[in-house]
Symmetry: C2
Subunit: 439 residues, 2 copies
């Protein structure tokens, strides 16, 4: 009989407590699956006194994460503290340097220090598993790291933040404003008191940087991700998208282009018929475009204690079985530098919403400015306001919304055209621009 895998858990929030509970309740299954028992031998958290609804009897209490990482009785450190810096970083690094394996759900840390930690894991022979860092219970890390070993990947994209998808779903289905839906999301516990990390796209960017590295064999490069959040999306954009056959989702997209690798996070119009468009509420989804094969889409719960704990346990089971795969699917020294494709050269279709002066010649002026930049228009709709007259109520000249969908063009051409339109003074306010992603 092989000795049990002795686990130390740092961080006993919702996920940590659920991990302790699952190792206890699913002990027999885990032992059968792994060929050895899995046992929690030590834990640490900020407060020892806090009630967590799990039995910690017989489990040692480490004074801090570093001591837990140094505990010779621990084979595998499970880091559920979070945060891109201390104490998580030192605890993980210490554990790896002593040959221990590490399981973590910490996307911020892996996005920032993943390479350094992976190098330590490779050098000292431990595993560094982070399935729970991206997409909750969806096995996206395993799929990219192991499941598509010889399949070239052209694009990986998805809905990686449940908060944003919840807000956009409610806005679309109920015609509500961003602010109203955010407030509801906060009330329901789907959004933080300070929601900026989620709604500004930074959470998605960290996850995308990790997926891009796994997909393309490149160094994790969070700084190379172009990021735009969802706070500027208005109900009228979602209405227009729907009429045109699209939905708006906050996507993280990483793709190979001739100019390098594009990594971008922004509100995106996706065809209603695509798998990704069907994903509603807090659910996450990732689509992988593999060379020569139809897209693979994985859909599931992206957050929450049980979903995250499910991924953590799968990672622990791999450690228990003795599976040691290089953390990013290839040795760190073989990961290539990310050749960043400049966002100005991004190519795709665009949705543009303008508030135009309701005067003869306005549409022609706009169309000419686009034509100057060689942008072809797939559709243009000029709508006379029904109900509220935006212009009159503000005491200005009468205004009318103009909606445009372009054929594939370049980001900088769109910017130049819209700057020219603004100089022409035929519109008011900032144009709304949403990129279109085809499946």
């Amino acid at each position: 009989m092989v000795a049990p895998l002795k686990v130390g858990i740092a961080g006993l929030g919702t996920v940590g407590a659920e991990v302790v509970r699952l190792i206890e309740s699913e002990g027999r299954t885990l032992a059968e699956r792994c060929g050895r028992a899995v046992q929690v031998v030590a834990v640490t958290a900020r407060s020892k006194a806090k009630k967590r609804g799990v039995d910690l009897g017989g489990i040692a209490w480490a004074k801090d994460p570093l001591r837990l990482a140094n505990d010779p009785n621990v084979d595998c450190l499970v880091e559920l503290i979070g945060g891109a810096g201390e104490p998580a970083l030192s605890a993980i690094e210490t554990a790896l340097k002593s040959g221990k394996s590490v399981v973590t759900a910490n996307k911020a840390l892996i996005a920032k220090h993943g390479l350094r930690l992976a190098a330590a894991a490779e050098k000292h022979g431990g595993a560094l598993n982070f399935e729970a860092a991206v997409g909750g219970a969806i096995p996206i890390v395993k799929t990219l790291r192991e499941g598509l070993a010889a399949t070239g990947i052209n694009r990986v994209y998805g809905i990686l933040n449940g908060t944003c998808n919840y807000i956009l779903t409610r806005m679309e289905q109920e015609g509500l404003s961003f602010a109203e839906c955010l407030k509801d999301a906060q009330r329901l516990g789907y959004a933080e008191a300070d929601p900026s990390f989620d709604v500004d796209g930074d959470d998605t960017a960290q996850k995308l940087a990790i997926l891009a590295s796994l997909a393309f064999g490149t160094k994790v490069a969070q700084g190379a991700v172009y990021v735009e959040g969802i706070s500027s999306i208005a109900p009228e954009d979602l209405r227009a998208a729907s009429e045109l056959g699209y939905r708006v989702k906050l996507l993280g997209v990483a793709m190979r282009t001739v100019k390098g690798i594009e990594q971008r996070v922004h509100p995106t119009m996706v065809p209603k018929s695509s798998s990704i468009a069907q994903v509603m509420g807090v659910t996450n989804a990732v689509t992988i475009d593999g060379e020569g094969i139809a897209p693979i889409t994985l859909v599931g719960p992206g957050a929450g204690g049980a979903a995250t704990a499910s991924a953590v346990l799968a990672d622990i089971a791999d450690v228990a079985r003795g599976v040691r795969i290089t953390p990013f699917g290839r040795p760190v020294e073989r990961l290539k530098a990310t050749e960043k494709a400049p966002m100005e050269r991004h190519e795709g279709g665009y949705y543009i919403r303008l508030m135009a002066r309701d005067l003869p010649g306005t549409a022609a002026t706009i169309a000419n400015r686009l034509a100057e930049q060689k942008i072809s228009i797939e559709s243009i709709v000029q709508r006379h306001p029904n109900g509220v007259d935006a212009g009159r109520s503000a005491g200005k000249a009468s205004q009318v919304p103009v909606l445009l969908i372009t054929y594939a063009t370049h980001e900088d051409a769109v910017h130049r055209a819209l700057q020219a339109v603004q100089r022409d003074k035929v519109i008011s306010g900032r144009p709304q621009v949403i990129r279109i992603e085809k499946n």
Copy 2:
């Protein structure tokens, strides 16, 4: 430097040739990912002379699969011959008994002899990987075997046969008959000249039996699968389904019930809003209901040379990395006997289409017979035929279709009620019954 993994491939059809090509073209990536090279050292197929569009220069030609399995120069046998019996069975068994690892795409063989082969793999220390046997490039075997190690599974279900889904999609979208769509599928190469294995549900049943074993830790039991094909589905069923908010899919469903494990393959009405309902054409999809977490759905190409080869290569890569996981996720001797839940006790909603005599009292008779069996009706629609009058054109008394949707009830109650209705002579022909699966 670790020695290369030396692969022998039995079967050089579309998939086999693609595997040879990928190992050659993706050699560097594979070596990086696995920490060692992967090399095809020997192959065998029925005809040596056949043109396959891949370079077999420098690769030994084995006279038959058994000799390939016995070749001491081969570390890993890749079996792509197919069929539940010889020569695949002996070749795999021989390879495993000599301590080699085996990768196979052979669902029929794994469904029938998987336990015996897994036992040989476990005893002699080789891997037995069969990701390509179910769901093509979708990593469903890996997800169930490794990704959900400590998550209890309540249900796994999906669209596992592209031929049937292609036919049902075309029938729905174009209002065509089963026979017309089958003919098109054959013309396009999506269906065999003898389509019965696909359209009668047997292909789905073999795949489902494998998934059920992985999901529930039970012995593979293809004989325990209840199977119904799609040939009786009429365009009017798809039309009615659509009006009622459903689509019809051929599903394989395995679920835990209080009466044991249900395994069933049959045309199924699924809510249009479900992930599985969005899956069109030859695409496959599997949904996993894990304990305490929202469903996980994997969607992707279920067949075709490139998709299958992608899964085969992932399996080979795991062998090369030295990953050895018990083939069914648990040691064979720990797999439980499948406690088969009797189909008569299946519980769920039902769609029923009857051709009723257009006489006063007919609807009441039907409703009474259902009430006698304590079946509650969610909706009942009696339609006067528009255009074609089925009764009159056949020279019989005028007839009218009646569509019923029931609330959850038992299979045997439905049968008893319909037998009574038939005895009442208020309907003609066989009632159409389609089970409803809720997400």
